[in-house]
Point group: C2
Chain length 431, copies 2
């Protein structure tokens, strides 16, 4: 005879709705695999009357999700609202305190409050699971915590935001502008229709990087200043130029330990076309891990959307139903360290820059002087005159330089009277 476990789902947007249907359609399969009979006993959403693909009894609908988090009949709560604080934090906190397991897809909540919430889960001997918060359908957190447990991982590199990867891929394949491709992405549901800022500026990727760091390096989630640049300033001109130079542009999230210090960063990268990561296109996500003794591991899968996300949520559910009580970050809260932050100004890197200058004698020499002054040496310089506007477009690839010198260079260039258009810069990454 099967044991009964009762579920509450808070948030019935695209993800919550798909999850609701998945649980109902997989009820028998779940019973066979875990010996548990699951029931959805409560759901909550802003609007009960919104058009949905499925019917539900009004008896299980709660306008206020707090009741679900407190309801003594409920064993497992899904939080699918998506705020980093506010109601999301409140229902998760309450549910854990009431000894309910919590499953969430909310990277903003975990990146910000994951340490506190995980210690709360441990104290109450329940699980806090968040597989769906990073990498969509790729079971990357489970792979790190279980499949690669005891490996010493040195570096993680990932394409973690499907929206950005779609936009960059599409700009290349369609030769269309950033603005037009963004609009397409919004129509297709790949980008937030109202405010896609947090996807484009790297914030979403950074939240995921911080969760990954905590898992691979066993540290408390870092709150430090990281290197974070988004893709908002990338123009078709950059995509075309990268193509000519045998590179492709990708927004990468990277975390690594340099001299026992944690270095987390998110920025667009120029990557050689013949590498694996340069060929992960469209809405796909991918993660590369370097570990000992396992060597290099690579995982790729669909990064977003109701299908992949509900796959990850279901894997969390089955893990709980199988009775796997685990530390949310793989080891006890108290054993997780604080790792010092690497000084990003010391970071050594090569850069791609593009800017427009007035096309008149002496300009090039004045520009190159700015480079010399900042101790940055130029590897390639490509000048393309635009006679009609009496300007020239300049693309420069640099040798390796320190981040602090590079920042000073950018400041000097943007204040140089001969420079007509602020420079676009992209870091050149060897992966």
């Amino acid at each position: 005879m099967h044991k009964n476990i009762n579920i509450g789902i808070i948030g019935l947007g695209q993800i919550g709705s798909r999850l609701y249907e998945e649980i109902l359609s997989k009820k028998k399969d779940i019973g066979i695999k875990t010996g548990v009979n699951v029931n959805i006993l409560a759901i909550s959403a802003k609007n009960i009357n919104k058009k949905r693909n499925f019917k539900f009894s009004k008896k299980i609908f709660y306008k206020n999700p707090i009741y679900i988090a407190k309801d003594p009949r409920i064993d497992i709560v899904f939080e699918l609202i998506g705020y980093s604080d506010g109601l999301s934090k409140k229902v998760v906190e309450l549910a854990l305190k009431n000894k309910k397991h919590v499953i969430t897809a909310n990277k903003a909540l975990i990146a910000k409050n994951g340490d506190y919430l995980s210690s709360l889960a441990e104290k109450n001997k329940v699980n806090l699971e968040f597989e769906a918060s990073v990498g969509g359908g790729i079971p990357i957190l489970r792979t790190i915590k279980e499949g690669l447990a005891t490996n010493k991982i040195n570096k993680v590199v990932g394409i973690l935001n499907g929206t950005c990867n779609y936009i960059l891929s599409k700009m290349e394949s369609s030769k269309d502008s950033f603005a037009n491709v963004l609009r397409k992405a919004q129509i297709l549901g790949y980008a937030e229709p109202r405010d896609p800022r947090f996807d484009l500026n790297g914030y979403d990727t950074l939240a995921k990087v911080r969760i990954l760091s905590a898992l691979v390096f066993n540290n408390k989630i870092s709150k430090n200043n990281c290197l974070m640049n988004g893709i908002e300033n990338i123009e078709l001109e950059d995509i075309k130029m990268a193509d000519k130079l045998n590179f492709r542009i990708k927004l990468l999230g990277i975390t690594e330990i340099i001299n026992n210090q944690l270095f987390e960063r998110v920025h667009p990268c120029l990557i050689k076309k013949d590498t694996y990561i340069a060929n992960v296109n469209g809405v796909m996500n991918a993660v590369i891990l370097e570990g000992k003794p396992v060597g290099q591991s690579l995982l790729q899968g669909e990064g977003a959307g109701p299908g992949p996300t509900s796959s990850a949520l279901m894997s969390d559910l089955l893990s709980i139903l199988r009775g796997n009580i685990k530390y949310p970050f793989g080891l006890p809260f108290k054993k997780r360290k604080k790792i010092n932050t690497y000084d990003k100004n010391q970071y050594l890197n090569s850069f791609y820059l593009r800017f427009d200058v007035k096309d008149k004698p002496g300009v090039l020499s004045s520009i190159t002087k700015v480079f010399t002054k900042n101790k940055i040496s130029i590897k390639n310089l490509i000048q393309k005159p635009d006679k009609k506007n009496k300007t020239a477009s300049i693309v420069i690839l640099t040798h390796e330089a320190r981040e602090k010198n590079f920042n000073s260079l950018i400041f000097n260039l943007n204040n140089n009277k001969s420079v007509k258009k602020k420079s676009t810069f992209i870091r050149i990454e060897k992966v």
Copy 2:
């Protein structure tokens, strides 16, 4: 205070030795992550005096591994001998009957006796874990059982044998012969020095395919006749020709459900160069899964060797130490189905063929007649005369044809008096 768990390791070859060192060096980390203090209480190998990188007390050495499988002090047994039956089966059987968890890297044992041994494990309420048997360092079994639990998977395609992948990659990059590259692989430890047959003929890959099938389709391990061809007949000429035609040759293991029937196969494939799988080179392994709702997932990692294998063995160990008692194949033995076998003669496929003919008038027409007779139509024909030997090399790409017609074609060609050299054939695979 930590609980004590005692381990026995049977087999101290490359893998067993590395595992021994891993467990000792990660003892503290294991304690933090699982709350368990692990001790290696018994080891066994053919030869106690063999030169090893580590020292051990002779008190823990047992000449006869049967003692370890029976020893009431031991909680977990590692079987690292590697036979499909014999002593491997005996120690695993005994250990399970004595209520010990068993961890093995032995695909031959699991592919042949996995059903029986898993039912034995379930009966005795212990775990039988075999992550290291498929995909080396890639936690592919765990990903299927846990990370993608409840997904409906339709097809799995994999590069599952590092030896073959190394040989094919190296033949392409070095333009060297099969025999020379095989010798190199043996020197580097990538291929069995005495008898590499089971790697080369597809048998090793097929064992892994059968384990994967059982996990993704929830069936009992199939014993049926599969399509199995190895890479032994592939010559440098084929590698070069594939390159010209924009293909690359890979040995793939594939399992899928066609019309509710199981179709498992292992054979060299011609794959378009611009696909992901064509670019997995060297000793790397890779697996592509098509699932619902997750979409396409892709995992890549080092396929063999002590590092990746011990990573997989350690993940099994930690899973047991965390108290995750699980069904070895993800669901109870009794619930696993028997799926009918797809009739491979019905399989529709395109082929690449290469053979030498006498270079005299009328030969080509006699050859093409053989194709017509077998209802196979030719898509491309490339003829290269060798005037000195009065022969010609012929390469043919066919349109899609049934396997049974193709087999009859091969038989007819090899018995045709104009054909001087048995034909090499490779299936063209769209992945």
